[in-house]
Symmetry: C2
Subunit: 239 residues, 2 copies
Amino acid sequence: MQVSALAFDVFGTVVDWHSSIAAEVTDVAARSGLGLEAGAGEAFAEEWRRRYGPSMERVRSGEIGWTALDDLHRASLDEVLRRFGMDGLAPAERERLNLAWHRLRPWPDSAEGLSRLRRRHVLCTLSNGNVALLVDLARFGGLPFDCILSAELCRAYKPDPRTYQMVPALLRLRPEQVMMVAAHASDLRAAAAQGLRTAYVDRPLEWGRAGERSGGLAPDDRFDVVAADFVDLAAQLEG
Amino acid sequence: MQVSALAFDVFGTVVDWHSSIAAEVTDVAARSGLGLEAGAGEAFAEEWRRRYGPSMERVRSGEIGWTALDDLHRASLDEVLRRFGMDGLAPAERERLNLAWHRLRPWPDSAEGLSRLRRRHVLCTLSNGNVALLVDLARFGGLPFDCILSAELCRAYKPDPRTYQMVPALLRLRPEQVMMVAAHASDLRAAAAQGLRTAYVDRPLEWGRAGERSGGLAPDDRFDVVAADFVDLAAQLEG
């Protein structure tokens, strides 16, 4: 198995959106004098994230034209604020809160694991996040990606086949020289359908301690690597 | 002047293609038992580079469809080998020599200057080199770019306006928040026409000691910054 490049899903796989968004929501509510019950920051984060799939589906279906994730997030945010009785949040605070997705904390193993993986592999993102979001995330978290690839570059959201095909095309590799790394089996299945190798990384806390899992593995899923985290992934690829 | 991101031209501005290509040509000729006169490595590098503009012009004019720079380089290489009596070079050695453009040495100040500039600015490439070439160059030279942007992403070569417009569009900035950094006035003039700020960095040795200059400044050129190298550029932007 000669893998030259690793392409990383980002939300949930590299960074912990759940606790990061919850903390920013709790913080801005307190600063703005808008009371939130205990645990409401987490519920807010989950509600916002649940609108992620349906908002991209509006683009995929052609209902709306290409719209970057920052703008989908911004539209969802207004709905979620209303639902949580935070309609009083000022426009500037809404803009700032929307950029919380640019400041998500990496999982504890992410920076170390990526640094180790980068010794032998080219590392790129392959995320539905737009380029500016991913650039900010990588800087914020000290994540040593060689290249920021985004659905935005093909104006189509994963799991559109063009997003996976873009990686070997731009890196001038054969599909089987690229390995998709994700905590979501659906992402890996779509990558495998385009000939990419696959590594599943378990992120049981993606939706928080009490939260739902984001799918898990199906009985017939066969990925090239199944790893506990990025340091384990590095060890397995070196082995 | 609120500049958030710096977009770097690469060949000649960040890396020294002239001495790097000359060294690889001299090396492969010796290894392959194809004699080259003293100084012929430099002449070969210059001849190869002179075909860069005309080869892209074939794409710009529509004579041929989109073709990545690696493939333009490869076609030019066969012509230059013939001209230098190196027709005997084996196919595998030709492929390897073509990738010399992925292993160009940075100027002595490049890595240090970029690291310093990166503290306050997002750093991206904006080069006619294709993505794979730029990723390899950045890894080879230890160049800390946050994002690899390439003409390949808009399938149009600089100075096409779309290449310069791509940078603020993907980074979600206004054009005047982006500064183009180049050792070539023509690149900066085209960037300024799209509203970007400009920094000229002097690279007098781009074509080697005895070589021609790549244009220099015209009497009416007015760039936002004129710097001796990247460390000087960092000092001026911090000042």
